[in-house]
């Protein structure tokens, strides 16, 4: 008997010992190893569609491209103001229409070739090639004749406002003076590409050239593409040929395409990531309370709003739209529901965008809303047919919609029923105006109020409300021509005032970028476009 018990005990001990071996000893986490070796692990959202800068449209692709390419200008890490990139310096003509860029002579591609003005010329020819059908070609339309060339109205590229005066001088002639031109150059549609490489693997003026694979890729940025495994990881390594390589302290960056926010957060907590792309709504409070030093909440250039289809009754009556706008308790939404530091939006353009803050602001006023509703013929909401609110399926959108639905029901007696559609169906419905009210958002392409306000010109592709106002159109066109910055902002003020009077949209909140980040990531500063040039980043673990 006793020997049996001893044997049993022996087995138990062995089991415990074996189990402890599995978990024994704190293994070094991946980020700790990365800290030592200056390898940054960054969560990057969805798997990139492509790594060709002229063919991609998403933010996750842009974050990778920023490491592989450098444009004429680069950005200051603190506030993103344009600093010399491939161009050492530039001159602007007095009328603001001609920019002359002087390229540095030690800028090199990753295969050793020098970066010349001709490279930029050929790159932009490819970018605007009608056959390439680049979705972002409109970013170049500020350049003389660029739109005409892209639309096939002229076929001689020499007529477009780009000229290579010599190997290291590029001259760009604009259609009008464009005060925000330099900040446009930060966009990936302005990066140069290495034509010889593209030619080697396909037709440069058509899609489908497979030059972006690891091993074939040639870029001019601080890093080069080392590995690309779909849905797994993209690894970039420090470039030995980059002109400013002495400033680059990171050795490698691993971009992890983790699409699920919850999975990404768990990976972060397990020490597999230094930085995440986002943070789920449900976790923000948790981090705020227990790990505030790991939580990053930064203002982001974007607005969340509801589009209204103004072509169908009853919402073609602007009094009803105004009543809806005045009844949303934005403060409560941001503070109680979203809880991610978002700011309530009482106008469309985020405040402080390139120095512009809209003077016209909405305000919450339930009494006024009730009055307007009654004036429109529906006192206390009686007689108003049920209104449909469309959103694409996502937890955050649903929760906001449910809150607002309640606010409208409680205060105005209006019956709103919620409809969710899967992403593509929702986009299709939005585009074909097959909705009454629909959830929308807009992230600025560049840091200027124009990116928000020019959406709503008559027939604009991103208007999608059916709203048309000739005075508004006139003002936006005028702003594009106005050289003097303060005068230009004044024009925008007038335009936004019209927008906020007619209300084809209901602004709800201004985005913040919410993510988790480890404290050893240095050289990272909050910026409104969430751009953090990698050449300034480094990892410095504090003595723990």
């Amino acid at each position: 008997m006793r020997r049996n018990r001893q044997k049993a005990r022996g087995w138990w001990l062995l089991l415990v010992f074996a189990l402890s071996l599995i978990g024994c000893g704190r293994r070094e986490t991946r980020v700790e190893a990365g800290d030592r070796e200056q390898i940054l692990y960054k969560g990057n959202g969805g798997e990139p569609q492509e790594l060709d800068p002229y063919v991609v449209t998403g933010v996750s692709e842009y974050h990778i491209l920023m490491s592989l390419f450098e444009g004429l200008v680069s950005e200051d890490p603190h506030d993103l103001h344009p600093v010399p990139g491939v161009a050492e310096r530039w001159d602007v003509s007095p009328d603001g229409k001609v920019y002359t860029f002087h390229l540095r002579n030690n800028a090199k591609w990753s295969n050793g070739d020098s970066v010349t003005a001709r490279d930029f010329l050929e790159s932009y020819k490819r970018m605007l090639a009608p056959t390439l059908a680049s979705e972002y070609s409109y970013m170049h339309f500020v350049v003389k004749n660029a739109q005409a060339y892209n639309e096939g109205k002229i076929t001689d590229f020499d007529q477009v406002g780009y000229k290579a005066l010599d190997d290291s001088t590029l001259q760009v002639t604009l259609e009008n003076s464009t005060p925000y031109f330099l900040s446009l150059l930060l966009h990936h549609s302005w990066f140069p590409v290495h034509l010889p490489t593209i030619r080697k693997y396909g037709d440069p003026y058509q899609r489908g050239s497979k030059w972006t694979r690891a091993g074939r890729f040639v870029g001019n940025g601080p890093f080069v593409l080392a590995k690309w495994r779909v849905n797994d990881v993209i690894v970039v390594k420090k470039s030995p040929t980059y002109w400013d390589r002495d400033r680059v302290r990171l050795n490698e960056i691993h971009f992890l395409p983790i699409e699920s926010g919850e999975t990404e957060e768990r990976a972060f907590r397990a020490g597999q990531l230094h930085v995440t792309e986002s943070l789920p709504l449900t976790k923000v409070d948790f981090y705020r309370k227990y790990y505030p030093q790991l939580l990053r909440i930064e203002p982001y250039l974007g607005t969340y709003f509801y589009r209204i289809n103004v072509t169908k009754p009853p919402l073609n009556d602007k009094r009803i739209r105004r009543a809806l706008a005045l009844t949303i308790d934005r403060e409560s939404l941001c503070a109680d529901v979203l809880r991610g530091g978002q700011l309530p939006a009482f106008c469309l353009t985020p405040p402080g965008t390139m120095g512009y803050t809209s003077h016209t602001q909405l305000h919450e006023d339930i009494a006024e809303a009730k009055r307007l509703l009654a004036e429109a013929g529906y006192p206390d909401g009686k007689g108003l047919p049920s209104i449909e609110l469309l959103y694409n399926t996502l937890e955050a959108h649903r929760i906001i919609a449910e809150s607002i639905q309640q606010m409208w029901k409680k205060n105005l007696g209006i019956d709103v029923h919620l409809v969710n559609e899967e992403w593509k169906v929702y986009l299709d419905s939005q585009r074909t105006l097959n909705f009454q009210i629909c959830r929308a958002s807009w992230i600025g392409d560049y840091n200027d109020p124009n990116t928000f306000l020019d959406m709503f010109v008559t027939g604009g592709g991103n208007n999608e409300t059916g709203w048309s106002n000739p005075e508004y159109d006139r003002l936006i066109a005028e702003a594009a021509r106005t050289i003097d910055p303060p005068k230009r902002l004044e024009v925008f003020q007038k335009a936004e005032a019209i927008l906020l009077d007619e209300l084809p949209i209901l602004p709800i909140y201004f985005y913040t970028h919410v993510a988790a980040q480890r404290p050893e990531v240095k050289g990272w500063y909050p910026t409104i476009l969430d751009n953090h040039p990698y050449k300034y980043l480094y990892l410095e673990p504090s003595a723990n």
Binding site: G23, Q49, D52, P130, E151, R207, V230, A267, L427
Partner: protein, 305 residues
């Protein structure tokens, strides 16, 4: 036997043809296309994009082009992941799903068959109720709850494994468990049911009366008949397991094929949808063939079909 397999093979071709055709037209009917994006594209650009991918040709022409390429084994370029072809994507993702699927299947079979047989032998005992309750738990706790729960306990709290990823050998453990547990529950219940059906029959009683031992009864007499319902279930189950589970792959960040099934539909990546559907169809048909053969082996009475 060979005639049986050859006949099946011949039947498969029209089946695949129908699947490809129906799916081809189904995806194109759904609203939204591969190039419908949030920031709207100027119509001329949209037209050129569609021209490049052949989407501007008449629908029937596109169909013929696709079927022509299909016969050559070319599944086309992915519309969403512009630099890869569908063949490349499936080729890189399937081995991962296969590996994960094999581990999951092994766990499912060992746990499921073991629990099911044990429970059927001791019907209505404590062992029966406990194991079947655990099995039911495996069915009611969906993978999107079980996965994060396991990660929470073993990954984040105890720190024994990573929270996600597919790099080290250790990364295989949790996803395999999550996948396997789910199927184990089904296998356990079906096995128990099937075994009970057989164990209560007269010929088992005869064997017992003749003094055959428990093990002999199970393996020689009961198992073949008892496994019939499980085997019928296993055909589609195995196909499902090795083509990957969208949920498990998303939770554990496994670069497998399962994700593509769902994301391709959401992205309206027409070629990817067709590619994954056909791939899955071939697997399912092959596995059902195997299942039918195994069923005949298990039940000799079916042999002269």
């Amino acid at each position: 036997m060979f005639r049986f397999i050859a006949r099946r093979f011949l039947e498969t071709i029209p089946v695949l043809f129908v699947i490809a055709t129906v799916t081809f037209f189904m995806v194109r009917l759904a609203p939204g296309g591969p190039f419908t994006t949030e920031k709207s594209i100027p119509p001329e650009i949209q037209k050129k994009l569609e021209a490049f991918y052949g989407l501007n040709k008449p629908l029937f022409q596109q169909y013929l082009d696709y079927m022509g390429n299909l016969l050559k084994g070319d599944l086309g370029p992915s519309f969403k992941y512009a630099t890869w072809t569908v063949n490349e994507l499936i080729w890189s993702a399937f081995p991962v799903s296969l590996e994960l699927g094999c581990y999951g299947l092994a766990i499912a079979l060992v746990l499921g068959l073991g629990a099911g047989i044990l429970a059927s032998l001791r019907q209505n005992s404590a062992v029966d109720h406990v194991s079947m309750s655990l099995a039911m738990l495996g069915i009611c706790v969906p993978t999107f709850v079980m996965g994060p729960l396991l990660i929470l306990v073993f990954g984040l709290t105890l720190g024994w494994v990573n929270a996600s990823g597919w790099e080290s050998a250790r990364d295989r453990i949790l996803p395999s468990l999550t996948l396997g547990f789910f199927y184990a529950a089904y296998i356990a219940r079906l096995t128990r049911g099937g075994m009970l059906e057989v164990l209560n029959q007269d010929f088992i009683r005869t064997a017992r009366a003749k003094g055959a031992s428990g093990k002999r009864i199970i393996f020689r007499h009961a198992l073949k008949g008892g496994l019939l319902p499980v085997v019928a279930f296993l055909g589609p189950a195995i196909a499902g397991i090795i083509t990957g589970s969208f949920v498990v792959e998303t939770i554990f960040q496994v670069p497998g094929l399962g994700r593509f099934f769902v994301t391709a539909a959401f992205n309206r990546d027409y070629t990817m949808v067709l590619g994954t559907v056909l791939f899955y169809a071939v697997l399912i048909i092959s596995l059902n063939l195997v299942v039918d053969i195994v069923q005949v082996w298990l039940n000799p009475k079916l042999r002269f079909e």
